[in-house]
């Protein structure tokens, strides 16, 4: 017998009494667990939580303002005005803001990665990114600075709301759903939190109002 059969037989014998449970029905019910209580203003909650987890947060009135906000941030932090963005963001007018941005997947040497976000999760101040041809996962991962553009109406309360929205808009999951909550970090040495491990050293979230 194969390992698969052996394992399933052993499990089957151990849980024999409950064979009648219809797991498909249980799965389809997608019952939610208890969700922590939250204030009504999701944008406020999102920003406060994102700041707590060491993301930076800026506001922009419209999408057109985004390149300017990014340029100002890079200047303040004395960072290179050069990097990559998701192909999905290729139409932004980067040049006009003095930025040299290529729309492609990131390589090891790129210092800045600009992405959008599928949703923001207010509960924990978390970004939700989906991988795809126009939204490569490397852009939020390899560069030392990650900047994410998040439209205000894309902020939902909880991860449960995010799953609901994902099923409604996409049906199935993309190859990778990445929830990002601030810069990469490690506390492996003496349990001391250090920002910047293998992923970005800083994360800026630009919340766009209009």
């Amino acid at each position: 017998m194969s390992a698969r059969e052996n394992i399933l037989t052993r499990i089957g014998n151990a849980c024999a009494s409950s064979a009648a449970v219809d797991i498909e029905k249980l799965i389809r019910s997608r019952q939610r667990g208890p969700i922590p209580p939250m204030e009504d203003d999701l944008t406020k909650r999102f920003s406060a939580q994102a700041l707590r987890l060491a993301s930076d947060v800026e506001r922009a009135a419209t999408l057109r303002e985004v390149p300017g906000v990014i340029a100002a941030y890079l200047r303040v932090h004395r960072l290179l005005m050069q990097g990559v963005c998701w192909p999905a963001l290729a139409s932004y007018d980067w040049r006009n803001a003095g930025l040299d941005v290529q729309a492609r997947a990131a390589c090891a040497d790129d210092m800045l990665g600009i992405t959008g976000a599928f949703l923001g999760i207010a509960e924990t101040g978390t970004l939700m990114l989906l991988s795809g041809a126009l939204t490569p996962a490397t852009v939020s991962l390899l560069p030392e600075t990650h900047i994410a553009v998040l439209e205000k109406q894309r902020i939902v309360a909880s991860m449960e709301d995010a799953w609901q929205q994902l099923r409604a808009e996409h049906g199935e999951l993309p190859r990778a759903v990445n929830f990002i909550s601030g810069p990469s970090r490690t506390a492996d040495i003496e349990q001391t939190v250090t920002l910047g491990a293998h992923g970005p050293y800083r994360v800026l979230i630009i919340i766009v109002d209009g």
């Binding site: 390992a3 698969r4 394992i7 399933l8 052993r10 499990i11 151990a14 849980c15 409950s18 449970v21 797991i23 498909e24 249980l26 799965i27 997608r30 019952q31 939610r32 667990g33 208890p34 922590p36 209580p37 987890l53 997947a105 090891a108 924990t124 978390t126 991988s131 041809a133 490569p136 996962a137 490397t138 991962l141 909880s158 991860m159 799953w163 199935e172 999951l173 993309p174 190859r175 990778a176 759903v177 929830f179 990002i180 909550s181 810069p183 990469s184 970090r185 490690t186 506390a187 492996d188 040495i189 003496e190 349990q191 001391t192 250090t194 910047g196 491990a197 293998h198 992923g199 970005p200």
Partner: protein, 468 residues
């Protein structure tokens, strides 16, 4: 990993005298214990969440076979290949086969305790696959050739000076003891490894039956790199890690990082489903998932079944007065602390881990903090009983236990007996408060003082108070 649980006593006493280790272990208290307390204080419905988590785990274990098959179907439908492994040896063989099949020479790994169960790294190296650990803690251990001493913080036993020495020796760079600089150094040294690897090996915190996804939580981002850059990804996980839906996984995620490190969420939570699409620039072309039993199915339907609820948060060890004093290596296998004391005997044999179920003060704190309410002290007590029944304890101990149980079932005799013993011990103490030596119990009194009985027995006191 080589089992050394049979040497628990020797290892524990050595560690108790190790000042550096004692100093390192103090950090657990301030960082993890206090961090967890603060994170939970912020969550008004923590107890409700715990109950929901127990319900999810029990509901899944109830039909574990059906959920695993459901997972297999969903994962295969998205192009992943699901393998089943009965033992650690099966896992090792499968990984090497997959590596050969795809012509892999270099592998990178993100932290996985299941692969520690298998001693996978040694096996891969011996079979011509170069393997590099990329979690900072695991990387340090790979350089030092040591096993992890904690399931969440694998190098908790090392100081930054130890790590500085190690890095200087292995990297040949200027020595630094600055933690941020050490982290940057590791990042710089490991980056080329990520870029050159053809295979990424990861564990899984959960697998989702609904979608066939593998869910991984990390803080460093190495888990993301491991599962994004190489063209082949192998995820290896225990069969108990399956959860029915994304909603269920979400509930458990509210508890896992808070219980582990006091974080409201880990930096990254990645849900990986299938292989990369035709126009995608990143993601693996081949995705293999290995489901490992290795003794887990044996726990199902047994008195120890609740142990399969474990989500590997480490809270039980962080809060354990025994772990806090002796560290993880003393336990002699992959899983230390209270959860290890229950799991290790199941994996390596009760006779090879005789001291583990007894390595407890039974203060009960582990059960109090466990996010999935595993009654760890009860499970350890159960293992003690099994040891007794299988005659694995020494004969004097068995005789003593048997006599005590005989006596305890005869209340009058018990009252007289304890009165006599109390009197004898008092005489023996000769007016002092502590007994330094008791004939026949020298092993116990060697390191401890036994308080001398103060006067009357509990039963006498109880009776006289009741009368008043």
């Amino acid at each position: 990993m080589q089992v050394s649980s049979m040497h628990f006593k020797r290892q524990a006493s050595a560690n108790l005298g190790n000042e550096k280790l004692q100093h390192a272990l103090e950090k657990l208290q301030t960082k993890f214990v206090d961090g967890r307390a603060a994170a939970i204080a912020e969550l008004p419905n923590f107890e409700e969440l715990r109950s929901a988590a127990v319900e999810i785990r029990d509901r899944t274990l109830h039909r574990l076979d059906a959920y695993l098959v459901r997972f297999e179907q969903a994962a295969s439908a998205r192009g992943a290949v699901v393998h089943w492994a009965e033992s650690a040896a099966d896992v090792n063989r499968l990984v090497v086969e997959i590596a050969r099949q795809h012509g892999v020479r270099k592998a990178i790994k993100s932290k996985s305790m299941v692969t520690e169960e298998c001693a996978l790294n040694d096996y891969l190296t011996n079979n011509g696959v170069e393997v590099l650990e990329t979690d900072l803690g695991e990387y340090i251990l790979q350089l030092a050739q040591e096993p992890p001493s904690h399931i969440v913080a694998p190098v908790v036993h090392k100081s930054k000076e130890d790590i500085a020495d190690l890095f200087e020796k292995k990297h040949g760079r200027v020595r630094t003891t600055q933690i941020a600089a050490l982290c940057r150094e590791a990042r710089e040294v490991l980056r080329p490894g990520f870029l050159a690897a053809d295979l990424g090996i990861s564990g899984a915190n959960f697998i989702v039956a609904e979608t066939g996804s593998v869910l991984i939580v990390t803080n460093e981002g190495n888990g993301r790199l491991t599962t994004t850059l190489p063209r082949v990804h192998i995820a290896i996980t225990g069969i108990e890690k399956v959860v029915p839906t994304l909603e269920d996984a979400t509930t458990l995620l509210r508890l896992l990082p808070r219980s582990a490190t006091g974080q409201s969420i880990t930096n990254y939570v990645s849900i990986l489903t299938g292989v990369k699409g035709p126009n995608e620039s990143d993601g693996p072309e081949h995705f293999h998932i290995i489901l490992l039993d290795n003794g887990r199915s044996r726990l199902l339907g047994s008195e120890l079944q609740a142990m399969l609820r474990c989500i590997r948060c480490g809270a039980c060890m962080n809060h354990c007065p025994v772990y806090q004093n002796i560290g993880g290596h003393a336990y002699g296998w992959v899983y230390p602390g209270p959860m290890g004391s229950v799991l290790t005997p199941n994996f390596v044999g009760l006779e090879n881990a005789l001291d583990l179920p007894n390595a407890s003060t039974f203060c009960g704190e582990c059960a109090v903090v466990c996010p999935v309410k595993i009654p760890l002290p009860d499970l350890m007590r159960h293992l003690r009983r099994r040891q007794f029944e299988r005659r694995l304890r020494s004969w004097p101990e068995r005789v003593a236990l048997r006599s005590w149980s005989w006596l305890a079932q005869r209340p009058r005799l018990y009252a007289i007996g304890t009165r006599i013993i109390a009197r004898v011990l008092r005489i023996f103490a000769g007016g002092k408060n502590n007994l330094r030596f008791i004939p026949g119990l020298s092993a116990w009194t060697k390191d401890r003082n036994m308080p001398a009985p103060a006067g009357r027995t509990f039963r006498d006191l109880y009776r006289s108070r009741h009368r008043q």
